[in-house]
């Protein structure tokens, strides 16, 4: 046996097989999406790569964009105000989070059983703009604005795709007939999206004084949405590094142990 030859081949084989098998599923949906969408814009992110982390300032700016613009139509039902606190969140203190939550009114029932509106608490999930799906549909010409909690994980292309959508609004090319109420977007499957362009230059006044260009806004809000889709990303990567280091050491030692055990056998 030649373990030194077989094993790397085997490991590589497993990775390649997994990658190859995973790949066909992706273009399939992109193709289904419609007529030759251009490749997604290649943007660099703070959270890329095995050691990438979220830029806290970008997260806070992104949250500002969500609060001031997106949350008018889009819910984020899976995220709580608590999630914003601390180093694994957006870096806000608990008092800041309490104040952020208290700005929103949430439906509740008082002790006499009457429906009331009360200020949201940190343990509450983000307050949704519409009480239910039918209300959301009615208010938006029949198209329900999707919940944004998992948006980055729920689309092919993830962060790049959402960034593409936010920056991909154009005037419809000549000869393209737009359905009523639809907007032309380079990256949306079929190019006709119900959402009007949500972000322009200077859509918000950033609290930290950053210049609010469209690219900056899109980049910030996508950073925020990426965090929201998987708030444990940083913990996951840190744990992964430790686990893999341990496994590498163990593999080395066990390879030695295996050779030692086999050393008295002709094989």
């Amino acid at each position: 046996m030649r373990p030194r030859r077989v094993l790397p081949a085997l490991l590589a084989g497993a990775v390649i097989a997994a990658a190859v098998l995973a790949q066909p599923a992706r273009p399939a949906t992109a193709q289904a999406a419609g007529e030759e969408a251009p490749p997604l814009p290649d943007v660099s992110w703070s959270f890329e790569g095995p050691f990438g982390t979220f830029d806290r300032a970008a997260l806070q700016r992104g949250f500002q964009i969500y609060t001031e613009i997106c949350s008018a139509c889009h819910s984020m039902n899976l995220v709580t105000y608590d999630d914003l606190a601390g180093p694994s969140g957006l870096g806000y203190t608990e008092a800041e989070v309490k104040a952020i939550a208290a700005q929103k009114q949430i439906a509740d029932i008082d002790k006499n059983g009457q429906p009331i509106q009360r200020p949201a608490r940190p343990s509450d999930h983000f307050v949704a703009p519409f009480p239910n799906e039918s209300a959301a549909r009615t208010a938006n010409n029949g198209a329900v604005p999707p919940d944004l909690s998992d948006m980055i994980k729920a689309r092919d292309g993830g962060a790049r795709y959402v960034y593409g959508i936010l920056t991909g609004f154009r005037d419809a090319p000549k000869g393209v007939e737009m359905r009523s109420g639809m907007n032309y977007n380079l990256y949306f499957p079929g190019h006709q999206i119900a959402m009007p362009q949500p972000l322009q230059d200077n859509s918000v006044q950033y609290a930290d004084g950053t210049k609010a260009t469209l690219d900056q806004e899109a980049h910030d809000v996508v950073t925020f949405l990426t965090w929201a889709a998987d708030p444990t990303t940083e913990e996951r990567k840190r744990t992964g590094a430790k686990v893999i280091l341990f496994l590498l050491a163990m593999t080395g030692v066990l390879y030695g142990a295996k050779r030692r055990v086999w050393s008295d056998i002709e094989h």
Binding site: P122, V253, A257, V261
Partner: protein, 217 residues
């Protein structure tokens, strides 16, 4: 057969004892450490999740409509909380030396309450008692029976009676001697944010106290 011949080779290896060298022992140790480390996330997952902990936030209760002699029951951290408005007569009886002599821990020496309620009435304001309504025996909810005598016989002084195994407490949650329950009923952290609004789950700002440090729920 082949197998008996085989065991000879196996024995030969074992006799040599060469297996147990440094690499093999280290490898075994790493496997053991890895297995234990892998068990930790699984065990940890059974502890209260973040949302469960967040739902344990303090609650405010308005006592303005609670009449003397009445009790209300609210939930805090999924536990029943008794809030009693005690009458002057009931308060007086808490100090009766003869009654006190029947109690197991009349001075609340066992850590079953924050230090700021370690007094004869086990509360911040004498008339308003706040208790975790869980019997210290095996976790049933004791019944509020403030009237002396009655179905519990002439010896009953008024207080809490646990229907499960007959544990008895007085109207400040102090346990009587000779019943299965070992400790007084716990008092949760609380303070008054206004004259008649009590916040349960939060200490007065001047008195930090860790509720998890009490002897027993």
């Amino acid at each position: 057969m082949a197998e008996s011949a085989h065991s000879q080779t196996a024995d030969a290896h074992a006799a040599g004892g060469t297996r147990r060298d440094f690499l093999v022992i280290t490898g075994n140790a790493l496997l053991g450490i890895g297995a234990v480390a892998a068990a930790w996330p699984l065990i940890s997952s059974m502890n209260p999740a973040r949302d469960v902990l967040a739902a344990g936030a303090p609650i405010d209760v308005d006592l303005s409509s609670l009449q003397p002699g009445q009790q209300i029951l609210v939930l805090w951290r999924s536990r029943p909380i008794f809030i009693v408005h005690r009458t002057p007569a009931e308060l007086k009886k808490l100090q009766d030396p003869q009654d006190i002599s029947l109690l197991r821990d009349p001075d609340s020496n066992v850590l079953q309450q924050p230090p700021y309620v370690k007094n004869w009435h086990r509360s911040i304001k004498p008339e308003y008692l706040v208790l975790v309504g869980i019997c210290t025996h095996l976790g049933c909810i004791p019944e509020f029976m403030p009237q002396p005598g009655g179905s519990l016989g002439p010896a009953w002084l008024g207080g809490y009676f646990c229907p499960c195994h007959g544990s008895r407490y007085d109207l400040s949650g102090r346990v009587f001697s000779g019943v299965p329950a070992p400790y007084n009923l716990p008092v949760p952290p609380h303070h008054f944010v206004s004259g008649t609004t009590v916040r349960i789950g939060e200490n007065p700002t001047t008195s930090p106290f860790d509720f998890d440090s009490i002897e027993q729920i």
